[in-house]
Amino acid sequence: MYGGGNTFEGIKTDSLAQEDPAKLAEFEARIERGEKIEPSDWMPQLYRRQLIRMIEQHAHSEIIGALPEGTWITRAPGFKRKMALMAKVQDEVGHAQLLYSAAETLGKSREQMIEDLITGKSKYSNVFNYPTFTWADCCFISWLVDAGAIVNQLANAKGSYGPYCRALDRICAEESFHLKYGHHCVIYLASGSAKQRQMFQEALNRWWAPMMHFFGPSDKISAHTEVLMRWKVKMGTNDEMRNQFLDMYVPKIWELGFTIPDPNLKKNPETGKWEYTEPDWEEFKRVINGGGPCNKERLEVRRIAEARGKWVREALKSNKTAYVTPLA
């Protein structure tokens, strides 16, 4: 699960000046032809850095994203829901493993990435810094946050970096179950008692703002995407991704008779684009910089897990193996 787009570092105009122009032209031509870049190919430093950053954030989002849902496994209604939720959470952690591996092919070790996560240096998707008060919050994540993630991931799977695309193909195939499962849960709440309906409506009210934030700041304020789009690191602007999500899922939410807490939300029949109240980007920044309701808890849980697993890693330590960069 991942909301992309929002966290690329600022691009300085001179950062491409040091690259070999012939190699750069060859690199760009390859991407233009629709070919993938593989770890052993030449690539500009900026491409490498931004990809590490993006894939690493994606991996952290999977591992942290398992927490708000994982907390509901023991309280999921019934055996079937427990089994499904457990499998889903296990998938998310598995996705983190696949993504860390893809990022490692670019030269950053997994150790360093985990270190940067628990010290708060690296970011992850904002949406996981909010609490899951009820089962309905958990259902919102399973259905709609995953839906948003799939919009991003399907787009990114057509990107230019081979190892990332291969990881995403696998992830998207696994996530089709998450989406159907999430929708199934919400249909059951919607067609249940008045109390169940109210529970989901309240969850929707709580999660709508984080969901709109999920795709990153508006294109009006989010610069530096042009070169990343040309290199197929970023496959659509934040607003395009948000619009695609709204187009696919707002009708499905309305179909179930729920109200979306934004009076200005409507599709403009002329432009075909959704119009909505501008999300509060100050809140977004505040949460990404550690000020959300659960940032502290999420990192603390990871930190404790790291510390408690230390004796296992120590016991398994062996000098017969060595860390090397993965091949593909």
Partner: protein
Amino acid sequence: MNSLDPRVNRLPEINEPVSPKAPLDQFGTFEVFVQPKEGKPFQHEGIVHAPNLELAYVLAKEAFTRRFTCTSLYVVDTRDVFISPMTEGDKNTYDYIQEPPEKADIGSSFEIYHLAKRGKQHVHAGTVQAGTPQQAMAQARQQFKTDKVIYNVWAIETDKIRFTTAEEKELWLTLPEKKFRDASDYKGGDKLKEFLEKMIK
């Protein structure tokens, strides 16, 4: 901590700093190969980090064969994978590999993997007998080179691989029974239709 989840609140306080982490966590890297169906070739799926070959196998099983059909899996230390130069366009990587010497040593067996399309996985092409990985590449050139462009070749000494044993193949027998992990197990259509009809009334 003040969490909504009582289990999180029960987690112990960690008094010692966990960062910076000691380098001991940096386990070795192992490449993972999966055979999705009987009769299909093995293909490269990705990597795991593990302290030894046996644990790499266990972790690979969880990471790569949890969800989709699988009949066999193997792992090998990344350092035991010998790689040819990566090429592109109409350049065949085999053109950069020398012909085998006339009196080649055939001491060991090597598994040969081909990358036939950039962006895709390496797929098993066959097995050759040779004395060194370099000679295995040369043998592969002789046996497997065709008009089709191959962009990258891997040679792995067969003895270095942790294969799936005959008994272990049972690991995957229950995969098709675990329907709760399939999208097809979540058909909400009827329930939704019934609900929408009720809403209209």
